[in-house]
């Protein structure tokens, strides 16, 4: 990996660089929208195949939202579902040789800033703006700066937790590939990176699949918890 592990600029629109992150996201979006379209055509009362999986997916997301935010906030389920599905697929993208969009702080900050806006928007909406703002001076006014810093820390920790996990995995996987490539050359004396076959599978399973799904779940879960705390 020459020049670090940052995303490559694929092309420009009116001088605005479009990176790998964005193109991969478009690709993921296209797949997810296509899936959503196909899965919901001709739904039958007795589900089979794709509909079964889709129903389980939607049902568990609805259940998760209901469980962590309560019945009255079930309206958040589609956003939380989008978050879980998008982040999970984005994290897993590494399995298919794509650079995960979540291995870019711009993506994770975009998501966490949206969570941040939602926390304060819905908090102010449910408690009344003045009451909500007054909440920052509790338990006493002196803690106001600390409370504000605490609130600002939320999106930063959300964004960097996801970014760190995924980019860490990306770097480790890349380093492993390089190491296995050099190892083949130095041990067997051939330039074909033979050791790269099969051996990195375990690393992929852990960093892409396990950590990826887990982090998407954690991100959505924290978003739900923060919003429901702000609403209460």
């Amino acid at each position: 990996m020459e020049g670090g592990f940052g995303p490559i600029v694929v092309f420009e629109i009116f001088g605005i660089p479009v990176t790998q992150t964005v193109t991969t996201t478009w690709f993921i979006m296209a797949i997810l929208i296509l899936y959503a379209y196909v899965a919901t055509r001709r739904m039958t009362t007795v589900p089979g195949g794709l509909q079964n999986i889709t129903e389980i997916l939607v049902d568990s997301i609805n259940g998760l939202t209901r469980q962590s935010m309560g019945d009255k906030n079930i309206g958040f389920a589609p956003y939380m579902g989008t978050l879980i599905i998008f982040v999970a697929v984005a994290n897993i993208a590494g399995l298919f040789g794509l650079r995960p969009p979540t291995a870019d702080v711009n993506t994770t900050f975009a998501l966490s800033i949206m969570t941040f806006i939602m926390i304060h928007f819905f908090g102010a909406k449910s408690q009344g703006t003045w009451n909500y703002l007054k909440g920052f001076t509790e338990p006493f006014t002196l803690l106001l700066p600390l409370n504000i810093m605490g609130e600002l820390a939320t999106p930063i920790s959300l964004a960097f937790r996801l970014f760190g996990n995924i980019v860490g995995g990306l770097i480790i996987v890349n380093l492993t590939y390089s190491a296995l490539g050099s190892l083949t050359t130095s041990l067997l004396g051939i330039s074909v990176p033979l050791f790269q076959v099969g051996i990195p599978a375990l690393i992929h399973v852990y960093f892409d699949l396990f950590a990826g799904v887990l982090q998407s779940f954690i991100f959505a879960m924290l978003t739900m918890v923060f919003i429901s705390i702000a609403i209460d």
């Binding site: 940052g6 600029v9 660089p17 929208i33 129903e55 939607v58 870019d104 711009n106 900050f109």
Partner: protein, 179 residues
Amino acid sequence: MYLTSYAALTGLKLGLVEPSWTFVFQIANTLILFWFLKRLLFKPVTEFMEKRQQTLAGSLEEAKTKNLDAEALLAQYQEKLAQAREEGQGIIKAMEKEAEETALKIKKEAQAEAKRIKDDALLEIEREKVKAIQSLKDEVADMVVLAASQVVEKEFSADEHRAFIEKFIGEVGDTKWQN
């Protein structure tokens, strides 16, 4: 930095932690994806499942009601059946009793009739007997008188005549004629 020289940007590798336009793109992308998934996936599937749940609940409720109805109907029919059986038995018993009574009555009547006929017959016989005895006695007396007169015409004495008649009547008396 990258806004200064356009053409040079393509193919450039950005820093690992470098704010860029990607931030704006990703917010837009997420909102677009949310919009699509909400309309194409979450809303229709959730609605579909809720509808099915309601349909199922309705069907189950209906089945339950129908079952209860059927059970009630069955109990009702069983009760009716038992009632009908009881009634039938009652009718049979009443009929049997009536038949017995009728038979008894007929028997009694027949016996009474038979007794009456027998009594009548006996009475008739008795009368006939008496009449026959009487007529025999008359006849015998006539014959006796006749015989006596014939005897008298030849060799009949007064004493012999007297004694003969007395003896004859006495013998004829009662018992001999009854056999």
